[in-house]
């Protein structure tokens, strides 16, 4: 049984009523009873955008967890309502680019049959809560964040007071020492940590975010008792709802409020609201948490010994094992990344046939569960080590075993000009150019871990600010140009990348990257020094100089 939250009667009734409401709203819009302006916030709160070619529907995958019944439903929707594929996003959701507006209520009704929805995946409200893709299986975890994510999902779903915020609001929760959820660049980041008396509570960060004004979140509470989580979140949201700016969409995120008040004054206001609201604030009931924790109980692991599956294996398996699998906290098991970064495919895209096939493999090898990562890959969290060679043999012909996880070609990328009406840049085309330039796996492995993150516009859906190498599409008199940043990171020591200089022309992007990484190979202290470490040690000056030296590497 997959460790995915199971709906009870309340959840089922709610999503069905939501579908009925949206069906009625769509009918009224098509009948002219609702204006485009009135329909827009309603459809956005059901994940529906109007894009370049057609509507785009963003379906929620709460904190990235899917059971195989749900994955098969996504394949069904891709086949019957779209053009046979879906696009996994950096916020652990999935987007369909070709649905028909009048069919969206039917799609939502089909999703509801497998306990899924598209609620609050857009709009100025609390968005899908995100988390660590290694939750429950990472050795460095203090406490599983998923029950807390589900608690927040329910609390934030159609919250009566916070459905019309100044701007979107994103919450990430982690329970491990390594932050794999980029929580410092969220409106609120929650870290499960031990308090002074040893009890586990939350460290609370606020005011982080990317977009036009990237900011790293500040700690506003070093330790909050777990039972106070919703009371404290309500205080933060209430201060934001009252005082966040609404006059300028680009100044409306909570980070602007935190910055303009100063973190101390913002914290004082939140604390004052928290205290003033004690009599009526929501408390987290132990019984409710016990029910949620039970939803994420570990699967029925077998007693297995660790062993090295590379012994006697061929080179393709060994490369895949090294790059696409990770340690598991239970002996005899391994975490497997399913790469959606095959050369020739848009990062994060997956066909219906691949989804169907992967659902079968997940049922067979990983307790019927699939996860979506922040890097637009999928993950099978609980694979027995003895089954890895079989699994690799099954994934490879599906095009899902490209051994490039963590390497330069494991890029994250927004849909860009090809689909999005906001984009300045064809980020998918740039991804192909980079794949072509860096097609030698041994060279990629020599470069080691490099995160390339690419956004088609200032809204930063591709998180370019926190890429070791960031690429931002900019428009110059109707032409696509690309601004490059170096030294960003969303994990560990969080940092924002620095712009190296003038934007480069479209055909120069991969060649410029090639010059930058060439300099890294020349100047690194040893193979143990990663690209990010080298950028931090050397500063961007030598990289900048090399990046624009057009002759160094033949273009």
């Amino acid at each position: 049984m997959a460790a995915v939250y199971q709906y009870d009667e309340i959840d089922r009734t709610f999503v069905n009523e939501r579908v009925a409401e949206f069906r009625d709203q769509t009918r009224r819009f098509l009948a002219g009873e609702l204006s485009e302006e009135e329909f827009r916030p309603l459809r956005l709160r059901n994940g529906l955008y109007i894009q370049t070619h057609a509507p785009m529907l963003r379906v929620a995958i709460p904190y990235g967890l899917l059971n195989t019944r749900q994955l098969r439903m996504l394949a069904h929707i891709a086949t019957h309502y779209d053009r046979g594929f879906g696009h996994f996003s950096t916020r652990q959701n999935i987007q369909f680019n070709w649905p028909k507006l009048e069919q969206v209520p039917d799609i939502l009704a089909e999703l509801a049959t497998v306990e899924m929805h598209a609620i609050q995946t857009s709009g100025n409200c609390i968005r899908n809560v995100t988390s660590d893709h290694l939750a429950g299986v990472a050795a460095d975890e203090l406490e599983d964040p998923r029950p807390w994510c589900e608690l927040i999902r329910q609390w934030s779903t159609l919250h009566p007071e916070f459905n019309y915020l100044p701007r979107k609001f994103k919450i990430a929760v982690t329970g491990a020492s390594a932050d794999r959820a980029a929580s410092a660049v969220h409106d609120v980041g929650l870290h499960l940590v031990r308090g002074p008396d040893g009890t586990v509570g939350f460290e609370v960060l606020a005011g982080g975010g990317l977009g036009r004004m990237p900011v790293i979140g500040k700690v506003i509470r070093e330790w909050l008792p777990q039972g106070e989580l919703l009371a404290y979140l309500e205080a933060i949201l209430r201060v934001y709802n009252r005082y966040g700016r609404r006059d300028n969409i680009h100044r409306a995120r909570i980070k602007v409020l935190v910055k303009s008040l100063g973190v101390d004054e913002f914290t004082r206001q939140v604390d004052a609201e928290y205290l003033a609201n004690r009599a009526v604030a929501p408390q987290v009931a132990d019984a409710a948490m016990a029910r949620l924790r039970a939803s994420f109980a570990p699967p029925a692991y077998q007693q297995l010994a660790d062993h090295d599956p590379t012994a006697g294996a061929g080179a393709p398996f060994v490369a895949w094992y090294r790059h696409n699998t990770r340690a598991h906290k239970v002996s005899g098991y391994r975490v497997v990344f399913v790469s959606l970064k095959k050369h020739g495919e848009a990062p994060g895209d997956m066909s219906a046939a691949q989804m169907e096939a992967l659902a079968g493999l997940a049922d067979h090898y990983s307790f019927g569960e699939v996860r979506v990562t922040h890097d637009q890959n999928l993950l099978l969290a609980d694979v027995p080590q003895h089954a890895l060679r079989e699994l690799h043999a099954a994934l490879a012909p599906l095009g899902l075993a490209t051994p490039n996880i963590g390497t330069l070609t494991d890029m994250i990328c927004c849909p860009g000009l090809d689909f999005c009406s906001l984009a300045n840049a064809g980020s998918i085309g740039i991804a192909k150019q980079i794949h072509e330039r860096f097609d030698d796996l041994d060279y990629l492995y020599d470069l080691g871990e490099i995160q390339v993150k690419m956004s088609g516009c200032m809204n930063a859906c591709g998180h370019h600010h926190v890429g070791h190498i960031g690429i931002l599409g900019v428009d110059k008199r109707g032409e696509e140009w690309y601004q490059i940043t170096l030294g960003g990171s969303a994990t560990g020591e969080v940092s924002l990348g620095e712009v190296i200089g003038p934007a480069v022309a479209r055909h120069e992007v991969a060649a410029t990257l090639a010059r930058i990484v060439e300099l890294y190979l020349e100047r690194r202290e040893s193979e143990a020094e990663t690209f990010l470490q080298a950028v931090r040690r050397l500063g961007i000056a030598p990289f900048k100089e090399r990046a624009y030296a057009a002759d160094t590497v033949a273009a």
């Binding site: 309340i10 709203q25 100025n124 779903t157 159609l158 007071e161 916070f162 459905n163 019309y164 009526v280």
Partner: protein, 157 residues
Amino acid sequence: MRQILSQREVRADRWRYPEEAGGGPQVHTLAGLTAAVGAATPVGGELGVCLGPTDDVALLAPHIDRLALVVIHFEASGDGRGYTQGQLLRQRHGYQGELRAAGAIRRDHLFLLARCGFDAFDFDSREDPQAALAHLERYSVAYQKAAGTLVRPRQRP
């Protein structure tokens, strides 16, 4: 005469908004309220006030038991400050009188407004209050506790 939805009934409004002439009790602006309270209001005279999205409801606290009507004006349907104003009036300031949402509101906002303590609705002119009424029952369940009593969705214990 203006038709409003009040306590699940569509009825003619007996109040006069700040700019309006004619009969019926007067709704004051926040600035006008102090003067009205200070003046020798007739005994039993009803007191009403209209707030904009940036007005602090705490300023009503000294008069809370005398107020018979608070109108929260929604300038745009996406401006959610009124929802917090409603919750605060009901939960923190113990306001018991009519709490009316007015302005850019349609049936699609009704359920959440009622959850936040609103019990009267002066809709956008294109909305049919009678048709909107059924939308109070749009959801039979909810995940959160809230101030409103006009709707009582089922919740987990």
